[in-house]
Subunit: 309 residues, 2 copies
């Protein structure tokens, strides 16, 4: 089997396992310390987190954890937590006050399927639930490992990470009079490293944390994650320009219309494609310490760069 096929079958396996796990976790029985899980809110949480997505972030967790022989069920728990943060960010990002999107993964966005208030609260629930999952012994028997995951995910997701990137993204549309638009390559790179990069980077890093990796291997996966995160966003921006809505499953051409800051906007299409290729190289070379065992992660970097949806 080619490494490309191996990659796709492993990506699909993680997606199926993540879906099954989230399905089990998002049920109505209250846990210790909970009261009811109100039906409408639970339905919105399920709508926003089940039945879609490539589950690429959980894949990064599972495959990087596998380099250290981490129990797959534990890695899937961390992957599910990461996916909860990713899904919450999409729900809030799609709100009328934010990007005002009607379509996501080929379906109505959460606030269209429910209402704005329910979508806000479903996002809040998913973010909170991510930390609930990380705190459970199922995620890792050692409290020290779990608390490291909590800290790393909070940093990746918060004010100096993903949420910070969201506000820079709105600033790039010229939304705020008091915030200059990020325009230079460095500014746009920072924006994207925060908005999209931070969670992808956490995915690779989480595997190293779960595996209690030494510094060298931890830094290797961190470097890999950073390169893949950048590649992911450039590919996404290229898709927004070159893809069509039916294939991509969401509205395309919106970034340019909204005046969003993108690497493609700064560098142009040909140079962006060169940069994408260089990032795939960087991602691969970061993993050299792991030898052939990291082939599936290297294939993942290529997939990210070449994907059409």
């Amino acid at each position: 089997m080619s490494s490309e096929n191996t990659f796709l079958s492993r990506l699909n396996a993680v997606a199926a396992d993540t879906e099954a796990l989230l399905e089990r976790l998002m049920e109505s029985t209250p846990l210790d310390g909970e009261r009811d899980r109100p039906a409408r809110l639970l339905a919105a949480v399920r709508y926003a987190s089940l039945g879609g997505g490539k589950r690429f972030r959980p894949f990064l967790v599972v495959e990087s954890a596998a380099l250290f022989g981490v129990d797959r069920a534990q890695a899937l728990m961390t992957g599910a937590a990461l996916e909860c943060v990713h899904c919450y960010s999409l729900v809030h990002d799609d709100l009328p006050a934010m990007d005002n999107d009607d379509l996501r993964r080929g379906r109505p966005t959460a606030h269209k399927a429910f209402d704005d208030a329910t979508a806000i609260l479903a996002g809040d629930s998913l973010l909170t639930y991510a930390f609930d999952l990380l705190a459970r012994p199922d995620t890792h028997p050692k409290a020290e490992v779990r608390i490291k995951l909590v800290l790393a995910l909070a940093r990746a997701s918060g004010l100096g990470g993903m949420v910070g990137g969201q506000i820079l993204d709105l600033a790039a549309e010229g939304r705020f009079n008091d915030v200059p638009k990020p325009k230079s390559l460095t500014e746009v790179e920072t924006l994207q490293a925060m908005k999209t990069g931070a969670l992808i980077r956490f995915g690779a890093l989480a595997g190293a944390i779960l595996g209690q990796a030494d510094d060298k291997r931890l830094r290797a996966l961190d470097r890999y994650g950073a390169a893949v995160g950048q590649a992911f966003q450039i590919a996404d921006d290229l898709l927004d320009i070159e893809g069509d809505a039916a294939t991509v499953g969401k509205q395309t051409g919106k970034d340019a219309a909204a005046g969003k800051a993108t690497i493609v906007g700064v560098l142009g299409i040909p140079q962006s494609k060169q940069r994408l290729a260089a990032l795939v190289e960087e991602a691969s070379s970061a993993l050299s310490v792991f030898g052939a065992r990291a082939d599936v992660l290297k294939a993942a970097a290529r997939f990210v760069a070449e994907r059409e949806t």
Copy 2:
């Protein structure tokens, strides 16, 4: 000094310490794993979390932790985390899509002072930051204690806790066709135990977790927190009816206008006041195991029932 005066001076001391701590934590220097903290978002986070509030929840953490001789600086970190969750919930609750409030603590609400998108993201940042704070060694040297705090706070705040209570509260306004209004005493109690009670209860419980309390003392503080949480909400609902906006610092009479479900609405004013007195008794008797050392917490329960703002 009477226990009432002792209580007030200790409440003010915790408020000042919490304010100083949050001020220090909400600065612009990025921490390990963070990029920039964008200025506008940081300003909104500071606006929503600094310069106001009685800091009653941090007080509960600090004073319940003090029963076990926990280091005050550690308890303040947990108190600050809890306050971040409380402040985020107010920001999201005030949004136009939710309660649509213009005034909070005598100042414009966050979305009025900034804009809806910034307020949504500031709330998200504060919620995320709470878990960042709990995960730090400053909060407690033992990872096992910190991860217990993370789990308990996630449960208190999430789908089966505070956020779940928010959606029940919106349902009580008749917002959703598919969700019946909570009307019975039990339904309204559940709503309030989730919406307001869960975070207050966590405050008392967190002290026991930090103090590595035995089961008996942990249950005692949990019982105390549950009673104080109920008393707090009934007092709040009475204030909404009997208080005036200038003293309370937010619009009054809104609950009735919005058709909110309250204990006062179900039981009437005289019976609600009786219930409030019984809850103060319950809170005090729960703490009997601690003897006179818990006097300040008992005074806190009385204060909650009798407060005028």
